[in-house]
């Protein structure tokens, strides 16, 4: 897996730029990852990102949009406003988690 440096953090990423080791993540890195894809993190964004981290720690899976909405309490529509076009992918990217299983 390639190693890259972002804002002084050395991180392992996959071919799409997703962190491959969720433990290399911290909140400072999240802000830098957000900036990479043009998103400035507000409280609302943090609410979603922290839910993703917490849910991943509990289940071992990146939650789907449906789950962020039903369990995390953030409506899907709002997620599309906060993380335009590809909210599932963008949230996971900023939260330093694997892409949610889109399934085959």
């Amino acid at each position: 897996m390639p190693v890259t440096t972002l804002n002084g953090h050395e991180i392992h990423v996959n071919e799409e730029g997703f962190l491959t080791d969720p433990t290399e993540w911290d909140e400072e890195l999240a802000a830098a990852l957000g900036a990479q894809i043009g998103i400035t993190l507000t409280d609302e964004h943090w609410n979603a990102i922290r839910f993703l981290r917490k849910d991943f720690a509990e289940t071992g899976e990146t939650p789907t949009l449906r789950r962020v909405s039903t369990v995390g309490g953030i409506p899907i529509k709002q997620l599309f406003v906060m993380f335009p076009q590809k909210p599932a992918k963008k949230m996971a990217y900023i939260a330093g988690l694997p892409k949610p299983v889109g399934c085959v």
Partner: protein
């Protein structure tokens, strides 16, 4: 007497009771299988109904005629699984106890989950083809459809047979061309995925086949509702796709009794160990076929390969031994592409569908991710194999685990996209 109870007499459940009845001593093991009716559909056949390629008779048989002697068949709706007391209650009040439970209740299209889908346009301009009734209704609609916008749409992943919407699109294109109507019809393929399919190499190959057929692709489209007045799909990010004829794949969900019993995730799929298919919560419950949350295709081939692993694991498990078999997520699917041709894809949890050759005894190698007549004939022949070999639990000469023999590795596929961040 020990009791094995199987919920669902579809592809996975039927294979399981056929295989295990031969392996479990009839004096020691009672096997019961439950389903809500006695009609076993050959689900891949639904795709062909609207185009008149298969008839009703070819795709439905009775469930009981595929169940072996020595297996009790109970017709009823499951109300609740009480995993604490090892008992299943049916909605008519009957209770069935078990020592081991197999949940094989599949996944079902749920048009009720998208606002507007089941409204006044349902079966007027909005159709699905994942049920017998739906495919029949669509057959009539297609007969009358001679111009306008045909929209083929996936509500959300995962869906049963994820290649079927593409197949429908290819078949519709060929069918319209044959009737001289293609110039009067605009076809749009609407998907929540970033491209035509889930994995890069297949997505690229299938995407260019949509281009070749002048099918417009609307990607990253997650539907919020259907505007019935305007006859348009409306996404969460407020894009609209108008239609004259909508063929949608409604949200797929596992059985409601799974949710009522507290056994499911947010789509009613039961979380399992992806290698052994054993419930993460209850060691005497296994989940086989589409009903589990394993990250591979919900497809008959997956059910088949996983049943072979399950059979050996289950026999070890009840003998108090470790389960040594590990399912790799192997899937093998023919994709009908119209005009008497088809593609073949073969993949698992770790290896995406690749190009190359798929070795098959007797008939010889089939081309992977490439349109050929042989792949189409393979798809048609599979119906006979399904009814006569697969369901009966007889062996098929295809390896349970995916093999790399004949495949071009991903690094050798020039279509691999560049590494880009999640923009």
């Amino acid at each position: 007497m020990k009791k094995l109870l199987v919920l669902g007499a579809g592809t996975a459940g039927t294979m399981i009771v056929n295989r295990l009845r031969r392996r479990l001593d009839a004096g020691e093991w009672d096997i019961t299988i439950v389903d809500h009716d006695d009609v076993h559909p050959y689900q891949p056949g639904f795709l062909f109904l609207p185009f008149g390629i298969l008839s009703n008779k070819q795709i439905t048989h009775s469930r009981h005629s595929y169940l072996p002697d020595g297996v009790n068949f109970v017709i009823g709706d499951v109300d609740l699984v009480d995993a604490a007391t090892n008992a299943v209650t049916l909605t008519d009040g009957r209770t069935l106890g078990y020592d081991y439970l197999v949940i094989a209740s599949g996944t079902t299209p749920r048009p009720d989950q998208t606002p507007g889908m089941l409204g006044s346009e349902w079966h007027r301009s909005i159709f699905e083809f994942y049920t017998f009734e739906g495919a029949k209704a669509l057959t009539k609609a297609l007969e009358q459809f001679d111009h306008g916008r045909l929209v083929v749409h996936i509500t959300d992943m995962p869906i049963k047979c994820p290649v079927a919407p593409l197949e429908f699109t290819f078949l519709a294109d060929a069918w319209l061309r044959k009737r001289g109507l293609r110039d009067q019809v605009e076809i749009v393929y609407v998907t929540p995925l970033p491209g035509a399919f889930t994995k890069p190499i297949a997505s690229k190959a299938l995407g260019s086949m949509l281009d070749d057929r002048k099918v417009a692709l609307e990607s990253d489209f997650l539907v919020e509702r259907i505007d019935v007045e305007k006859k348009a799909l409306v996404s969460y990010d407020e894009r609209e796709v108008p239609f004259d004829l909508l063929v949608t794949i409604p949200l797929n969900m596992g059985a409601d009794f799974v949710a009522r019993s507290g056994l499911g995730d947010d789509l009613n799929y039961v979380p399992v160990d992806k290698q052994t298919l054993q419930s993460k919560a209850h060691p005497n419950i296994f989940v086989v076929g589409d009903a589990s949350d394993i990250p591979t295709s919900k497809a008959g081939s997956v059910a088949h390969f996983s049943v072979e692993i399950f059979e050996e694991n289950f026999l070890n498990h009840i003998a108090g031994k470790a389960m040594t078999g590990a399912f790799d997520g192997h899937a093998n699917c023919f994709i009908e592409t119209g005009n008497g041709k088809g593609l073949l894809i073969d993949f698992n949890y770790d290896t995406e569908p690749l190009t190359g050759k798929f070795p098959l005894p007797v008939v010889g190698p089939m081309d992977l991710l490439k349109e050929t007549r042989a792949n189409h004939l393979g798809k048609l022949a599979f119906r006979w194999i399904y009814w006569n070999v697969l369901l009966r639990g007889r062996p098929i000469p295809i390896s349970t685990h995916m093999s790399m023999v004949g495949k071009n590795p991903a690094s050798a596929n020039p279509t691999r996209p560049n590494a880009t961040p999640a923009k």
